[in-house]
């Protein structure tokens, strides 16, 4: 801050709305919290992943440094692809991201955002409400809702299927992977819908009116005008939903990772190793690999964001 009197020498050069010292003070509380609960865990998890630390027993207090031991166990190619092993979870998660995020959420969100532009307000509002409700309600509630929905004997889905003459099924037991794919698509489509919706509404209406005048069909307007203009939003959306879906734990609330590890996504695998088998070292190694994959996506995303800002 500058001095009161005109004759005194200034303490700092340059006026700013907030002086550097005040700015540093303002940043301190957030800085401490983030340092302890975000940045420290990042480095700590790397450290722990090189030890044989457990929750209980001798190695809980005095863990030993075992080098890449945990990683070697994870990448033991004798059983890498077996159910309940790291490789199985990793590949399952990749498929899960591919089907539920990239195909499911993004495409459905895009379709919904486009439909909503043109349909009557009542249809728009009702559809929007349910799509957003699926996204906004607490995950445990959603997990239970789907549990009831899919129940073999009484669930709403089987009731509907039998009423139109189709055979009922015990989907959680027979097709658990597809259940969590549909579940996650349903749960997360709202984000893509809203992102694309705001992208579409940022396009000046005159662009579409000009196309109308030129005689373009709805499909042509979508393909030739809307899509190219929202390309940046699509990339943003794909990266964000990929990262979120890759890390999601919510399917655990519907399937517990089962039956027999068939829906054990990498986050659920990580949880089981660390907190059910109590192998912290190995769990930390899984965490490190998850973070490395996250880092790759985050760097792509941030570099794209920087480019956009410069342009």
């Amino acid at each position: 801050m500058t001095t009161e009197s005109t004759t005194e020498k200034p303490k700092t050069k340059g006026f700013a709305l907030l002086s550097p010292r005040a700015g540093a003070a303002f940043l301190t509380p957030a800085g401490l919290l983030v340092a302890v609960f975000v940045i420290a865990p990042f480095f700590w998890v790397i450290f722990v992943s090189f030890t044989n630390r457990t929750l209980l027993g001798r190695t809980a207090l005095n863990p030993e440094f075992i080098g890449f031991g945990n990683y070697l166990t994870l990448f033991d190619f004798d059983n890498f692809f077996q159910r309940g092993q790291f490789g199985f979870s990793l590949i399952l998660t990749v498929q899960f991201v591919l089907f539920s995020a990239l195909l499911g959420q993004a495409l459905l969100g895009l379709l919904l955002a486009w439909l909503i532009q043109t349909v009557p307000p009542t249809v728009k509002r009702i559809t929007e409400t349910f799509v957003i409700a699926a996204w906004i309600l607490p995950e445990v509630v959603i997990g239970f809702a789907w549990f009831a929905f899919l129940d073999r004997d009484q669930g709403t889905l089987n009731m509907l299927l039998t009423s139109v003459g189709l055979p009922p099924g015990d989907f959680l037991l027979e097709h658990p992977f597809w259940v969590i794919v549909f579940f996650n698509t349903w749960r997360g489509a709202a984000f893509s819908m809203m992102l694309f919706n705001s992208a579409f509404s940022s396009i000046p209406p005159s662009y579409f009116q000009a196309a109308d005048v030129a005689g373009a069909s709805s499909w042509q307007k979508f393909k030739d005008i809307a899509l190219p203009l929202i390309r940046g939003h699509i990339v943003t959306d794909l990266i964000l939903i990929t990262m979120w879906t890759f890390n999601t734990f919510t399917p655990f609330l519907l399937t517990n990772g089962g039956p027999s590890y068939r829906t054990e996504l990498i986050s659920i695998y990580n949880y089981r190793v660390a907190f059910r088998d109590f192998e912290f070292g190995k769990g930390a190694a899984v965490g490190v690999i998850i973070m490395l994959i996250n880092l790759a996506f985050a760097l792509v995303y941030l570099s794209l964001g920087r480019k956009k800002r410069k342009a």
Binding site: M1, T2, T3, T6, P10, K13, G14, F15
Partner: protein, 371 residues
């Protein structure tokens, strides 16, 4: 009220020099306009008076005190911002009275004073409204009221009228002129609108690329523009500038250019000096000094008719000379002029401005000072 002075002030933002070594002295009670195109450094200069920017080098003085590094709050100045900066969560009374609040005045007293000022500005009946509930013109007057509510040493205006539509802008301009006559305040007013500067200022500082090109009363800026830049910037439409070849002989000066016929001019010391640096001069004639030529006019410029715009009391006639350059004349007549395809315009020798090859005005010998 107080004087303002810039002493060798420079301000750079990284590589960019916004203001380069300017010196400017604004007397107590003067209304000075900083005029120039965007990016010329005028707003940066104003913000250095306010304390919102700190000079890279040099001194800013208010009332003889060095305020270069003084915090804005301690400068006892007021400022009207381009976007008005009215606080959206406060009603008009609280907005106008805010400077009194931070000075520790009691509620009743400060609202009383705010009402007085608001009444003068004809917004006294809107004191309970929020800024979002009043018109653009009323918002402008509210921000003016907030600047006037406490005694200031200097009043700063950053393009205060640029967000108003044309009609309101004229009205507000007239009011500011009245206020200046009434209060005799020291004011620094930034604008890119030359008409606004001409109408309001006691002196205008024309700025270009971080430098002051000319600092003079409006009439001098208009009649004796120091450079082609000033000539081109002040006046609407701007002065016609025609590059001419100068040929010296017999104590006389001949000027040659495509489509131009001009009688010989007497040589002067100024011209002689200008010709030392280059034989190509620039001839300038203001559009309002051009007429449709009649038989026997000595100074003429001719070309093909390009446009003929009737503005009501006047017509703007633009011709295109053989080399493609255009010349515009402001012809004062209520009637729409009928013109053939070829048009010749004429002008008097006394209305000729001459600039040397670097764009500087060539002074006439023994030039009398302007009143």
């Amino acid at each position: 009220m107080a004087s303002v002075e810039f002493k060798n002030v420079s301000k750079s933002f990284g590589e960019f020099n916004a203001v380069s070594n300017i010196n400017l002295s604004i007397g107590d009670g003067e209304f000075v306009c900083l005029l120039g195109p965007s990016g010329c450094g005028k707003t940066t200069s104003l913000r250095m008076i306010a304390g919102l920017e700190t000079p890279t080098s040099g001194q800013v003085m208010i009332g003889g005190d060095d305020v270069t590094y003084l915090h804005p709050k301690d400068r006892q100045i007021s400022m009207v911002f381009q976007d008005y900066a009215l606080y959206p969560h406060m009603n008009l009374a609280d907005n106008i009275a805010y400077p009194l609040k931070v000075r520790g005045e009691a509620v009743a007293k400060r609202h009383g004073r705010a009402k007085e000022v608001a009444d003068v500005l004809k917004i006294g009946n809107l004191m309970d409204r929020l800024p979002s509930q009043i018109s653009g013109g009323q918002q402008q007057r509210t921000s003016l009221a907030r600047a006037l509510v406490y005694p200031s040493r200097v009043y700063l205006f950053d393009e205060p009228l640029s967000n108003l539509d044309a009609k309101l802008r004229l009205e507000a301009r007239g009011f500011l002129n009245h206020l200046q006559r009434d209060m005799g305040m020291t004011a620094v007013y930034v604008t890119h609108d030359q008409a606004e500067a001409m109408a309001l200022a006691t002196r205008i500082a024309v700025m270009d690329q971080g430098k002051i090109v000319q600092y003079a009363p409006p009439i001098e800026i208009y009649r004796r523009p120091a450079t082609t830049f000033v000539a081109n910037f002040v006046g609407n439409p701007p002065m016609n500038l025609v590059p001419v070849d100068a040929i010296q002989g017999d104590g006389q000066l001949q000027l040659r250019a495509e489509g131009l016929a001009i009688g010989a001019l007497p040589m002067s010391n100024g011209i002689a000096k200008a010709l030392e640096t280059g034989k190509t001069l620039t001839l300038g004639v203001r559009p309002e000094h051009l007429l449709i030529a009649t038989e026997g006019s000595p100074n003429k410029v001719s070309g093909k008719l390009f446009a003929n715009e009737n503005m009501g009391p006047e017509s703007l006639v633009t011709i295109e000379r053989g080399d493609g350059a255009r010349v515009t004349a402001r012809i004062f007549t209520d009637d729409h002029i009928q013109l053939t395809e070829d048009v010749t315009l004429s002008f008097l020798a006394e209305h000729v401005h001459l600039f040397d090859s670097t764009g500087k005005r060539i002074p006439v010998d023994n030039e009398a000072p302007l009143a």
